[in-house]
Amino acid sequence: MAKEYWRWKEYNWKDENIDWKEATTISGGVDVGSVSSQAVILCDGELYAYASMRTGSNSPQSAVNVMNWCMDGTGLRLDDLHFTVGTGYGRVNVPFADKSITEIACHARGAHLMYGPTIRTLLDMGGQDCKAISVDERGKVTNFLMNDKCAAGTGRGMEVFADLLSLPIEEIGELSFQVEEEPEPVSSTCVIFAKSEATGLLRKGWAKNKVLAAYSSAMAHRVVALLERIDIQKDFAITGGIAKNVGVVRRIEEELGLTTLKTKYDSQIAGALGAALFGKVLCEKKRAKQAS
């Protein structure tokens, strides 16, 4: 089988220092995206475990798979989760979720924890859409817009380029800087047309890295235009898979004249983390109601 250059590493993680059996509230969040799915488990609001994997053609099964992988080696079972929130494109297809919440609210909430309460502007660069979100000091959404009508500026677009150029997706960020000078961005915003344009440039003798640079800056330019409709403020962060692509991130920073906030958390778990944080609050609300 031909090498799949687009294929990114799936991963899971757990905090060995936390014993979930001692937790009063175990909340779960599942973000079923168009390209990848993430699951997060919190023990009394503390990050205990997370996992990220590719979304398959069957959304409910993807939700189950990613949560199972998140619980792998913990001894936890689905029944042990006190409250689970589903989010993302496939949020209504999470069979074990107690509630579904839109990913815009969940990303804002998750980023508020990941980047701290000073965060005001968030750009989520997902697999097949891009969201610009303004957040207040409590992590509430104050303004948002999304673009999900077109694949320009999305993770899937970058996967297509990794495949076209036969370069591993996890390396193309760095490679895009290995050019003598920054080329003009590709002019097509559409991924399909940008791919044709790139093929033409390769035929003209452009090095792969130069084509990557031209595509990465086109992508950066595209999302900056989206951000301009909301009020961009200096405490700014990028989440999603593209946040791991330094080639796009640094070009966005340069275009905006801003540096993105950094976090110890994985940039792709923002949605699932926000969902789990909402799950904790909703669980406590439910208990309070039952007690009264």
Binding site: I104, F144, N147, K149
Partner: protein
């Protein structure tokens, strides 16, 4: 909160912005729209809020430039949804 419903493509930017600080979910904008673009539903962007808000239907969200064209022909100062809103909560970007 300002919720921008719509999209940007090669032909332009088409967003209907609903300001939830002004919108109280009265629903007067819903019946005046000839294309059924608006509805009143839960504020899904604030899971802790109980109030409802006007919003663009999922069905119409990605085709606003077509759905709104009938009213746009009457001039952008005469949009029925904008005029129907007693609190000025609706703004079109185009």
């Amino acid at each position: 909160m300002i919720a921008n419903f719509g999209y940007k493509d090669a032909t332009g930017e088409f967003y209907i912005a609903i300001n939830t600080d002004k919108c109280d979910g009265c629903g007067k904008c819903v019946p005046v729209c000839p294309s059924g673009v608006l509805e009143v539903r839960d504020n899904e962007f604030d899971p802790m809020a109980d109030e409802e808000m006007a919003a663009v239907t999922e069905e119409q969200r990605k085709k606003l430039s077509f759905s709104c064209s009938e009213c746009k022909a009457g001039g952008s100062d005469n949009l029925p949804c904008v005029l129907a809103c007693p609190r000025g909560a609706i703004v079109h970007s185009w």
